[in-house]
């Protein structure tokens, strides 16, 4: 395996380890709801909840995306004449996983503000006896390392891999304008370093105040918490309003950028598995329009996370967020038409790679309606904070994960010299899709019944929903376990599988048909 492929393989394997950890913690949650409904394990539940979110999203999904996207971006590298960056991806791997390990250690010591941190909860926690100052500082260091990796090292590594430098040449830009796959990757490079800067700076200020290097009185007035009644010895370091604006500007757009990357993967991979003599999308122009529209509208849409701050949010801010959220839906609608027309016109060859990608895209569309409900302000006020929102969050992340699993099936022959067996791949795809759909509907129904998210115990019919979530969660987990066993086995002679590509060759370019 050549060096860049080896690093991608390490990223993928490490992602699977984090997925396993996050998955075990995730199964723990409905099990507690189902079998300890009296609420006797609240602290354990909070720790598992936080660990599940961090491990799954950052350790698993983000890292899987990094490993596969760097591989995919190498197909552009041949044209630059440069060699892929060596140090950057290694630093990225080190900082990302080092930060996650610190977060995991903090989590095990009781630091449990959930994976969205809910500032000022992390720093209020020690004063309210929820966790100690030591785990808080450990977590803040971990968060800093993860943010550096997510916001700066990964975009830099991706840019250097695609373009040979941090920005495209004129020729490369002209090519990207006609290629929605490349444009989707470029969106992450362009968006995240800028959109993440405010929260990075504010988090640094919070860290400095916690360590006693800064006093709140020294901060500018716009980020100092207003005077008002507070509990004794509780004083958030900065005003939670600007912090949450900055946080959701980052967090929402990180999820959107990962979604855009996943759509880029759909655009790039699906045409390769059609029956057309040369792979082609139905309308590359429509694809470019969709990616551009999605990128631009995603940025102001972050305000839909702040709908329940009714008086604090300016009216125009809320209206803009709602309109922008709907525009992202239009971008998804364009994509659905484009991919559907491609399949109609050119047909499809049966293979796990496109099945996973299309299955993930279908989940993305199914969840899309729920996302649009939640993006509509008045609906949001009746659904926010319940498991209805969890149905959306979990499903969109699983959808993106399925798309990246499809990319793994596609790239595997080039990575390791032999293809994954197709029949097992079909089983993997089917069980994953069924498990994900079951969890989606269960959470939707539970949320409509008013059951709050991140709460333990669930009130009312909570234990029943806990059993259902556990069953579908076990089905989903079983599918992944079977896949990992298959993945880590030594190569077997192919039975019903595409002809294996020779071992040691670099990954196929995403412009090349698989054998």
């Amino acid at each position: 395996m050549a060096r860049p492929e080896r690093l991608s393989w390490w990223l993928i394997l490490t992602a699977l380890v984090w997925f396993a950890a996050g998955g075990i913690l995730g199964l723990f949650l409905p099990a507690l709801q189902a079998f300890l409904p009296q609420g006797g394990a609240a602290r354990l539940y909070a720790i598992a909840l936080t660990g599940h979110g961090v491990a799954f999203v950052f350790g698993g999904l983000f890292q899987l995306m990094v490993g596969l996207s760097l591989l995919q971006a190498r197909s552009c590298m041949e044209e630059t004449g440069s060699s892929p960056p060596r140090l950057l991806p290694r630093w990225l791997y080190g900082l990302l996983n080092g930060g996650l390990i610190l977060l995991a250690l903090a989590n095990l010591q009781g630091f449990a503000p959930s994976y969205t941190l809910m500032y000022p909860l992390p720093t209020v926690g020690p004063a309210r006896g929820m966790w100690g100052r030591g785990p808080l500082i450990l977590a803040l260091v971990g968060i800093a390392l993860v943010l550096l990796a997510v916001l700066y090292l990964y975009p830099a590594a991706l840019a250097r891999t695609m373009w040979g430098r941090l920005y495209p040449s004129r020729r490369q830009w002209e090519r990207m304008r006609r290629d929605p796959g490349m444009l989707g990757m470029a969106a992450y490079v362009g968006m995240m370093p800028i959109l993440g800067l405010p929260v990075f700076l504010l988090a640094a200020v919070v860290f400095a105040v916690v360590l006693g290097l800064l006093r709140p009185e020294q901060l500018p007035s716009w980020c100092r918490i207003p005077l008002g009644p507070l509990l004794p010895q509780i004083r958030p370091e900065v005003d939670p309003w600007p912090f949450n604006v900055a946080f959701w500007l980052f967090a929402h757009n990180l999820m959107e950028a990962m979604g855009i990357m996943a759509l880029a993967a759909v655009y790039a991979l699906v045409p390769l598995y059609t029956r057309a003599p040369t792979p082609r999308l139905y309308s590359p122009g429509m694809g470019v329009l969709a990616v551009g529209l999605y990128t631009l509208s995603a940025i102001p849409a972050f305000g839909h996370h702040l709908y329940t701050m009714i008086s604090t949010s300016p009216p125009g801010f809320t209206a803009l967020a709602q309109a922008a959220s709907w525009l992202t839906g239009f971008a998804a609608a364009f994509t659905a038409f484009n991919i559907g027309a491609t399949l109609w016109r050119d047909g499809l060859r049966l293979h796990p790679a496109p099945l996973f990608v299309l299955g993930g895209f279908l989940l993305y569309l199914i969840d899309g309606f729920v996302a649009l409900q939640l993006a509509t302000r008045a609906w949001n006020l009746r659904l926010h904070g319940t498991l209805y929102v969890t149905a959306h969050t979990m499903t969109i992340l699983i959808a993106v994960g399925m798309i990246w699993l499809g990319m793994l099936y596609h790239h595997h022959p080039g990575l390791r010299g032999w293809p994954l067996e197709a029949r097992r791949g079909f089983l993997h795809a089917g069980l994953t899709f069924l498990g994900a759909l079951g969890m989606f509907y269960t959470l939707l129904r539970a949320g409509a019944a008013g059951i709050p998210r991140r709460a333990y115990p669930w009130p009312g019919d909570g234990p029943g929903f806990g059993v259902a979530m556990l069953l579908f969660g076990v089905l989903f987990a079983l599918a992944q376990v079977l896949f990992v066993v298959h993945l880590l086995r030594p190569p077997q002679p192919a039975t019903i599988a595409p002809r294996p590509s020779p071992s040691g060759e670099p990954s196929p370019s995403l412009q090349q048909r698989p054998a």
Partner: protein
């Protein structure tokens, strides 16, 4: 079950998802059987698809108009309720509000983010509003049904989040 509010939300989501599943599996089955050639009338197909999507958006927005009353306070005279949240409890003054009269809730927090989520006597979520330290959120609502209304925190606030529950009364005044 009333087909409005959260019940309407999940039933419409279920319906749309089943339609999408049917369409997707139908398309997949046809695609696996072979290429069909260019779309017969591509612009019509595009227009229909995007038109359906736009109708969906219009429907979602129109259906939410009746709840738009849960908004910023207006000039109309209203009762005022002070709500203060902290880990993991509420102070609500007064604990009883009149039915059929606008009520303005003034919601704040003493420590971290919480929320003031109000459920009607049938356990349907009516609205939720953020409680943030250093800020006051104001929401105006008109209760039409007398009874006990449950309040739950719907913003994760730590270990005791699931037990942050209280209630208040809505009474029809003579």
């Amino acid at each position: 079950m009333r087909l409005e509010g959260p019940d309407g939300a999940w039933i419409s989501a279920l319906g749309i998802s089943l339609l999408l599943l049917g369409a997707a599996f139908g398309l997949l089955w046809r695609a696996l059987r072979g290429a069909r050639g260019d779309l017969p009338r591509p612009w019509v197909a595009r227009g229909l698809w995007l038109g359906l999507f736009a109708l969906l958006g219009l429907g979602l927005n129109l259906s939410s108009l009746r709840w738009a009353q849960a908004e910023r306070p207006q000039a109309e005279e209203a009762s005022t309720v002070e709500v203060v949240a902290w880990t993991w409890n509420y102070r609500i003054v007064p604990r009883s509000v009149p039915a059929d009269t606008p009520v303005v809730f003034r919601v704040s927090s003493l420590d971290t983010l919480h929320s003031f989520g109000v459920y009607d006597p049938h356990n349907r979520l009516l609205f939720t509003v953020m409680a943030m330290p250093g800020h006051e959120e104001r929401l105006r609502f008109r209760f039409t049904e007398p009874g006990r209304y449950t309040v739950r925190c719907l913003e994760y606030c730590g270990v005791g989040h699931g037990r942050m529950v209280t209630e208040f009364l809505v009474e029809r005044r003579k």
